[in-house]
Structure formats: C-alpha cells, structure tokens
Symmetry: C2
DNA sequence: TTCCCGCGACCTCTTGCCTAG
DNA sequence: ACTAGGCAAGAGGTCGCGGGA
C-alpha cells in the first residue's frame, strides 16, 4: 500500500498535478469548481502532502524547534502542555533541543538549526540568543519566539514579572512581616528573576520596609533541596516572610522543611502555581504558563506576531 | 550565504556529486584516496546532507517519534532527560506526540506517523498499540520501542515492576504493619500497575498477611491531590502502612496531608524516586528511568534490539 | 483581454546501470 | 574481467510563465 501522492489525486481528478499543488497551497488561479473537486478527492484518497518533498523544494521546514535549557522543571512542563495542545491542533510538529543548564550550547544549537534548516521557527525558553544570531534567523525567514526573553527582532512572550513580584510583596507586607526574605535565581542572566525581584523591592519600598533591609538566598537549580536550604538559612536570620521568586518548587522545599521542623508562622509566597501548589496550600503568583505556551506556538506558526505580556494572578491559599 | 550542498563539495573535489554521495553513504566502489579527500573537503565546507532530500529519496525519516499520553509526569520528565542526552549525542532528532490521558489518540497518531512517514522509529511510553499496528510499522521498516509495554514485534523496555512491588512489600512488612494499603493506578490497562500490585501481593502472601486483607485506593491521575484523598480514605480504615504503586507524587500528597494533620506513624513507600523524593524523605523504589530513556533511544536508533528489564532499587529513607 | 490551467525547470540526494581504463 | 567513478532517472513537490478558450 503506497502512500497517495499528489499525482494520484491529479489523475483521479483529471487535472495535472500542478493544479492539485496549487489548490492545496491556495496559490495561483483555480476555479472554485475545480478546487472543490480536488479537495474532495484529496480527502477521499486521504492525501497529505509529503513533508520532506515540501521542505526540500521550499528550502524551509515547517517544524518548530523548541530550545530550552532543560525540560524537567515545573515551568517547562506546563509550557509543554500548551505547546502540545496547539501543535496537535495545527498539525505542525515540534522538535526539542536541550541546551544544558548553563546555556553554552544555545548558540551552537541555533546555528545548527539555521544551517541544516531544521525548522521554520524557533521558540527559545528562558534564554536569550545573541541579537546578531536572531537577526540572521529572521533574515532567513525563520521566525524567532522568545519566552521570558527580550529582543527587538523576535516575538517576546513573558509574564508580567514585575507586577507579579510587586503583588507578592504587597501581600506579604499586608500581614505581619518583620524581616522579609527572597529566594531568587540568577538575576544576572535570567530576566524573569531580576524583574520579580524588582517588583518585590518596589513593594517593600512603597511600604517603607526597604530601609530595614531584607535577606536574599540565591539559588541555581530551583529545586526542592534549594528550598530546604533556604529555609535553614532564613530561619537562622529571623526571616518571617518570604517570596520565592525562583518558583514554586523551592517554596515546596521550604514549606516541607518548615513543617518537618515544626516551625510555623513563616509566611511564604511562590511563583508559578505549579501542579502541586494547590495540594500544598501554597499562596503563589500564578502564571498562565500553558497559555503562554499556546501563544508561543501560534507566534511560531505565524498566526500572531505581537509581543505579549501575560498577567499574573495572586492565588492566596494557606501559606500567606 | 547558501547552504553548502553535495555539489559544492563535488566541485571543490573535482569529482561528480554522485561520488560524494557514495562516500558519505559508504556505498559503491570508491578508492581510499578519493574518499579521504572528499571527507576532508566535506568537513572543511561544513557539509551536512540535507535531511529533507534524504528523506524524500529514501522514503524514510531519520527522526524518532516519541508518543506518550502526557509529558508532565515525574516519570516522563526523567525519561525525557535520558532521551535528550542520547539524542544530543547521536544527532538524531525527536518529535513528540501526546495522545491524551485516555489514549484514544494512540492509534490515530501512530497511523499518521506511518502514513506521513514522520519518523524512522517510534518510542511508545506507558501504552501498548495494537499488535497489528506494530507489525505494520515493522514491515515498513519503522522500529518500534515500547516503554512499559509488551509486544512480540517491538523492543520492550521496562522496569522489573514485580520485583519492585515485592521489595516494597517486604520492606513494609519487616516493620510494624497491621493493615496494609496500596495506592494504585489503572491495573487493567497499565501493565506496570498490575505488575507492581502482583509483586506487592506476593510479599504479603509470603509473610502470611494476605489473609488479613488489604486496602486498595485506585486513582487515575497519579497526582498530588489523589494522594491526599488516599490518605483520608486510608486513615479512616486504619491503614498503617502503604505502598504507592502509582508513583511518588501521590505519595507526596499522602505524606503532606499526613504531616498537615499531624498524623505520624503511617509508613509509606513510593515508586520512582522522582526528583523531590529525597527532599521529602520518602522511601521509594527507584527506577532507573533516565537509563531507560537512553536505552530506548539507542533501540530506536537501531543500536540495540533486545528487550531490557531494568532493575529497581529500594531506597530507604525516613518514611518506611 | 481575462481566467484557468499546465509545461518545464528545479530543490538535494540516492541508486541501478554503464563506461572508460 | 575488474575497478573507480559518472550518467540519468527519479523521490514528491513548488512556482514563474506561457498559452488556449
């Protein structure tokens, strides 16, 4: 059973295969009647254009490359869901490339996507390629979408991290809060981290608490253990309210350690509203990550091309 | 800057491009000398064969399709890491397809992979396609690898779930255990679940506890909330030791709820050794998931073609 | 003229067969 | 009669034009 090709359709429709091609690409002038007929026959014969052939002749791939430092975090999980959902709908495929935690592989991977025409669009997560490289892709007709990154030449999709951090700060300070602490990732390279921090500090300042100082616990892996470490560090320093700008998972670790050590009274707010946060009772700044994923996909697919800043929403639960 | 093609290499080497093709495919009779020269020039020019053209002419794709009900679980996360690692090394790419939780999409997705030649190999996670479909793929030269599934016509990779369940049971029964409970997923359709249950029951039987009966809490989503529900159900029934065959995440929920309600003394063992288990202090049956991912990739890439059953290892921590 | 449609060239690479030594 | 290497025919499409009605 061979695959049905454009020629099979053409033969059955009694036209040249060129005409069929045009119909399936909405190109050239084809009469309504012929087009209908061809479409119908195409459906009957279950015809789908051959991706390889298409890519070959057009010099472009339709697949979307997703580049991320890792695919195992709560954030990428959720993003993934959104991407998947859109991908399923559109029929376009995705390829995933991990750059490694440090991101040294980013440039190299993007270069190979470019050189080997592996994709017609690239979605970069939590990282920012060099401007020159982005430009090069753009000129080659490869769309670039940045999630949590900034660039002039790409569609940028991110949460309103400043506002999120601000809201977390305001919430924390609306209750008892003598000494605030913040758990934060790499503020130098990850823009979301510096933005959340900035938002948080803005709240502190507004409330007049900034002058009293605050504690910072900087982490790299954004994992459970880091959160536990943060707890031990903070408890020693008398921190009584904390904002985990680094995400929910460190907050889980923090909470867990607190409950284990039977320390209560420290209030904490996370960031993400990851899957376990509800169960944990964690107050957190919800990001609409899944929606971001869907938007990113649409942008990559060319349906959308404006920068998007997603709102965040403070979800208050038990911990703050 | 156009991509360097086989012709560029040929021109520079002063041979026909056919010769170059043959060299890069180790086919036909080419003298050692010419081959060397061509390879050298190919490297100089940074030549990589065009995937699309190759796929077109050979009728086969080199990419590996990964099909899973979802990509957001602890298990798939870890698996993903392994797949990524191998993929990075081999240079082969992967495409991911979500079938949805119920798996109704599985047949359809595999069919489309087959019909549209989207991949040269398929890795199916936690599901089992119809035997006939597997055969069809096999006959078309598409390798099929099943993770946690069984088939005559595919390479099967799984954990030794029976042994894992057994060890968990033995451990639990080696301490105080008046009434055992098991949290389990869909035993009908997910072979790992029925196997773990079987192993666990074997232990109960051996210890002569089976006749006293045991509690079961069946869940579908394998999430945190399910674990909390399990706790509430079990605590009512006087269960004092539980095995979460459904994975670590429900065990997290269970544990969390227990600590929250200040109930201690219920011992629990999970399955997976997911990322947060160490932090949680959860005793669990470790699966070498990442290694399974790597093995699955190698099998899909054609490097390996024997069924593999991975050992499990009981990691004892605080909870049991 | 205008509207539809098809010719022919081309995209990059593989492969069976052929030819020049 | 071998051996090293080339010719030509596709694989399944796209697209600019040319041309018939």
């Amino acid at each position: 059973m061979k695959k049905t090709t454009i020629k099979d359709v053409a033969k059955k429709a009694g036209v040249s295969y060129v005409t069929v091609s045009k119909v399936f690409n909405n190109r050239g002038a084809i009469s309504e009647k012929t087009a209908e007929k061809i479409k119908k026959i195409g459906a009957e014969l279950n015809y789908t254009p051959d991706r390889a052939a298409r890519a070959l002749v057009s010099g472009k791939s339709e697949t979307i490359a997703v580049v991320s430092p890792e695919f195992a975090s709560a954030f990428t999980q959720l993003l993934f869901e959104g991407l998947q959902e859109s991908s399923l709908k559109s029929g376009k495929e995705m390829n995933f490339f991990a750059t490694g935690a440090t991101g040294e592989g980013l440039e190299h991977i993007i270069e190979s996507i470019y050189a080997e025409k592996k994709a017609g669009a690239v979605i970069v997560i939590s990282q920012c390629p060099e401007e020159a490289q982005i430009k090069k892709l753009k000129e080659a007709g490869i769309r670039v979408v940045l999630i949590e990154g900034k660039s002039e030449n790409a569609v940028c999709i991110s949460s309103d991290n400043i506002k999120g951090g601000y809201e977390a700060g305001m919430r924390l300070l609306s209750g008892k809060c003598r000494r605030p602490g913040i758990i934060v990732g790499d503020v130098k390279y990850i823009s979301s981290q510096s933005e959340r921090l900035a938002g948080f500090l803005k709240a502190l300042k507004e409330k007049g608490v900034l002058k009293n100082g605050y504690e910072t616990f900087e982490i790299r892996k954004h994992n459970f253990q880091d959160g536990k470490n943060a707890f031990n560090s903070f408890v020693e320093k008398g921190v009584d309210c904390v904002f985990s700008a680094a995400g929910d998972v460190p907050a889980y670790g923090f909470l867990f350690e607190a409950r284990k050590q039977r320390v209560s009274g420290i209030r904490i707010i996370g960031f993400d509203d990851a899957v376990m946060s509800e169960g944990m009772g964690l107050t957190t700044v919800k990001q609409y990550v899944k929606e971001m994923g869907m938007a990113a996909f649409d942008a990559a697919a060319g349906k959308e091309n404006t920068n998007l800043s997603f709102v965040t929403k403070l979800i208050t639960r038990e911990t703050a």
